[in-house]
């Protein structure tokens, strides 16, 4: 960990470094050379294109990008559009719930499997399988399951419960929970596997010590095991969070943003502005806002996690 960190910083220090310590800079030159394409990609695609997008969000570009300055007009319009508010509200609800439930369900499943159940391999496979499906397939499958005419509702009604109603995808108020179900079904398996790996990494001696001290199992989990699994939780958190911000294909496949635009998400707003409405400037403004919200959350967290004290 520490060597890589030094290398990165020496690389970042730039031209002054080789003058003083040329030998150090040339060490592992082949490895450094191999990373050059990736560094170039990162700079051009991530930094370059992000900058380009932000710049063009201050223009009135329509179908083609042009540098006709429009000041903050695009942002003013963005923040007066009801659909944008619906989108961010959906993302907030979906994000918070999917974060909590994915972590909780993932951890509970992992903890249960870790109690040395019989047929662990079978369960692990079953839980992880949905992750092998793309969001498009997941969305489509759950669109059918939740369709009142041919899915769950009709099956239960055919069993005799005639008043049973469960059609989240056709009800604007609860459609976001229909999406949540599909997302959890798809995503918890992976988190479970990561958690399971984390649990397996806990030294057996700790369990023995806890047992000797007479600490109940659940308390061992909450007070000893979970704090020890902090890095695992951080990894899961990053994976889940990045999935939430870019959620798009699931919505497209499952609801298409319907009913009546009630399940729109910011990424969809961006796509529609850019391509259906032929209004690039508006789409860029919306994507800049998405970037900004990620940055606002990420920077303090990154600072706390990596900035404060050096970890080994």
């Amino acid at each position: 960990m520490s060597t890589t960190h030094d290398e990165v910083s020496s690389l970042a220090d730039g031209p002054s470094v080789p003058a003083r310590r040329p030998v150090r800079f040339l060490r592992n030159w082949s490895a450094k050379l191999a990373t050059v394409p990736m560094i170039a990609t990162a700079l051009v695609i991530f930094v370059g294109c992000t900058g380009w997008t932000v710049i063009h969000s201050f223009t009135n570009s329509k179908l083609l990008p042009k540098l006709n300055w429009a000041g903050l007009d695009q942002y003013r319009r963005l923040w007066s559009t009801p659909k944008w508010y619906v989108s961010i509200e959906n993302l907030a609800v979906f994000g918070a719930l999917s974060l909590i439930f994915t972590l909780v369900i993932g951890f509970v499943l992992a903890a249960l499997l870790d109690r040395k159940v019989r047929g662990e391999d079978v369960f692990r496979t079953i839980f992880l399988y949905p992750f092998a499906l793309s969001f498009i397939v997941t969305g489509l499958a759950w669109q059918w399951i939740l369709n009142p005419e041919l899915g769950l509702q009709s099956v239960i009604r055919s069993w005799g419960w005639d008043s049973f109603t469960f059609d989240p995808l056709y009800n604007a108020r609860i459609v976001i929970y229909g999406l949540l179900i599909a997302a959890l079904w798809q995503g918890t398996g992976l988190v479970m596997c990561i958690m399971l790996a984390g649990l397996r990494g806990i030294d057996e001696e700790i369990w023995k010590a806890a047992r000797v001290d007479g600490i109940p199992t659940w308390k061992t989990y909450t007070h000893v095991i979970i704090p020890m699994m902090r890095p695992v939780f951080v990894t899961s958190l990053v994976l889940i969070a990045s999935g939430i911000v870019k959620v798009y294909d699931l919505v497209i496949a499952q609801t298409g943003g319907g009913p009546g635009g009630a399940s729109a998400v910011p990424a969809m707003y961006v796509m529609e502005s850019m391509f259906s409405a032929q209004n690039l400037g508006q789409g860029f403004a919306a994507s800049t806002m998405m970037l900004l919200s990620v940055v606002i959350i990420l920077i303090p967290w990154a600072y706390l996690e990596f900035g404060g004290k050096k970890r080994g």
Binding site: L63, P259, G261, A262, M271, F275, S276, A277, Q278, N279
Partner: protein, 418 residues
């Protein structure tokens, strides 16, 4: 994409089979002409195959680039291919303002010489169709058909099942809608795609508020009319129609048409392209289904439709083929074969459809009588259209948004329209 793959296959066969494959290679390069369009429903696919047949008969090869999911899905794909340097040879668009910027950027082929040679100016009726293809005096697209939105399709079976007379205007439709619902039918079929809600609304606007009010809003962007009493009537009517559309639970327009065809639904407000679906299902106008232009109130048709545009390409051979294709689209044979299958009207005043059904005849009569107004796509920018689509789909799907709220937001969009 397809041509690249074929080229690869050709190259592979060349190396494997030598001389034999050389012939294949030359024939493949004769000219693969890729045409992208979003005509994928049964009736539409049938119609587009007529163009393909005519094109293949000229010795060129039609490469079909159909994109499923309607114009809203297809247009971004087409535009990104053109901008991304992988243009198709021809593509379908609704004429009007959608292609404005592509023309400005010099990405589309100038067809003025073809138009002059073929005398489009004299032949195309109504002339507004050619105007919609004209940008700064040059012609950039070839109109292929006339479509109008202002139609309501009624299922005789649904009304017979319910023991009701088939409505003859909007009011009698409203009056019988509750009884139709009681008979287990959805009175008004409406698909979930946003453009369908907007379209139905605009039809109600022309029928109930009148042509003048419609043009004041859509052409002159008069927010006062949009917020005024004429449009208030339209929003009230739309709020009523919204209840009648509950329970449609379909996405695509042709699924909604199918509900009318099978008698599950009483009516659908949809453009005359729906006729292609009725025809494909073997139904006859006047015996299986009825049509009400302008909802049986004020019948004015908007002469919109489809047109083909041609991206500029370097290869002069392709350019020649593009011009040949453009000329072919307006030939009397293609006009008749295509429009008969699609349920649309020909763009030339001088061709006759051999067998015209009752509904098409009504349309032709209205056209001849000059009850024509410019289409929405030629008046509003895609940006404004998208905003209206968003509002309409929210309004039609909502059970809580009031007509007054929707109208206030509508007036605001019109006030800010470009």
């Amino acid at each position: 994409m397809i041509s690249v793959r074929e080229e690869k296959i050709v190259r592979l066969t060349t190396s494997l089979l030598g001389a034999t494959a050389l012939c294949a290679a030359t024939s493949a390069s004769a000219l693969d002409f890729e045409v992208t369009h979003w005509w994928t429903s049964g009736g539409e696919a049938n119609a587009v195959s007529k163009i393909a047949e005519a094109w293949n008969a000229t010795g060129n090869t039609w490469v079909d680039g159909a994109i499923a999911g309607g114009g809203d899905t297809a247009r971004p794909i087409m535009i990104s291919r053109i901008l991304g340097g992988d243009p198709m040879d021809a593509f379908q668009f609704n004429h009007g303002r959608q292609a404005e910027e592509l023309i400005e950027a010099g990405l589309l082929l100038d067809l003025t010489d073809v138009a002059e040679e073929q005398g489009w100016k004299e032949k195309i009726n109504p002339p507004s169709l050619l105007d919609a293809c004209t940008y700064e005096g040059r012609i950039y697209c070839a109109p292929i058909n006339i479509h109008s939105w202002q139609w309501m399709w009624l299922s005789r079976k649904a009304y017979e099942d319910a023991g009701l007379p088939v409505p003859t205007d909007w009011d009698s439709f409203i009056d019988s809608a509750d009884e139709l619902r009681a008979a287990g039918k959805v009175p008004l079929a409406l698909g979930g795609q946003p453009w369908q809600a907007t379209g139905a609304f605009n039809v109600m606007a022309t029928a109930l508020a009148g042509e003048d009010a419609y043009l004041a809003v859509n052409r002159d962007k008069d927010a006062e009319v949009a917020g005024g009493p004429d449009y208030a009537k339209v929003f009230e009517a739309a709020a009523v129609a919204r209840d009648f559309a509950m329970g449609s639970n379909v996405q695509d327009w042709n699924q909604a048409t199918n509900m009318v065809i099978t008698g599950q639904a009483g009516a659908q407000i949809m453009g005359d392209w729906a006729q292609g679906e009725f025809a494909l299902a073997g139904q006859t106008a006047g015996t299986d289904y009825d049509c009400l232009p302008g909802l049986g109130e004020q019948a004015v048709l908007d002469a919109g439709g489809d047109a083909f545009f041609f991206p500029v390409q370097d290869d002069p051979e392709v350019t020649a083929a593009q011009k040949q294709f453009a000329a072919m689209l307006l030939s009397p044979e293609v006009q008749v074969a295509f429009n008969a299958a699609k349920g649309s009207l020909p763009v030339r005043g001088d061709v006759n459809l051999e067998s015209v059904n009752e509904c098409t005849k009504k349309g032709l009569d209205l056209l001849a009588a000059g009850n024509v107004m410019p289409a929405g796509t030629t008046l509003l920018s895609p940006d404004t259209t998208q905003q209206i689509n968003d509002l309409m789909t929210e309004f039609w799907a909502s059970d809580s948004m009031s007509a007054a709220d929707a109208q206030a937001r509508y007036a605001e969009i019109i006030a800010n329209a470009d």
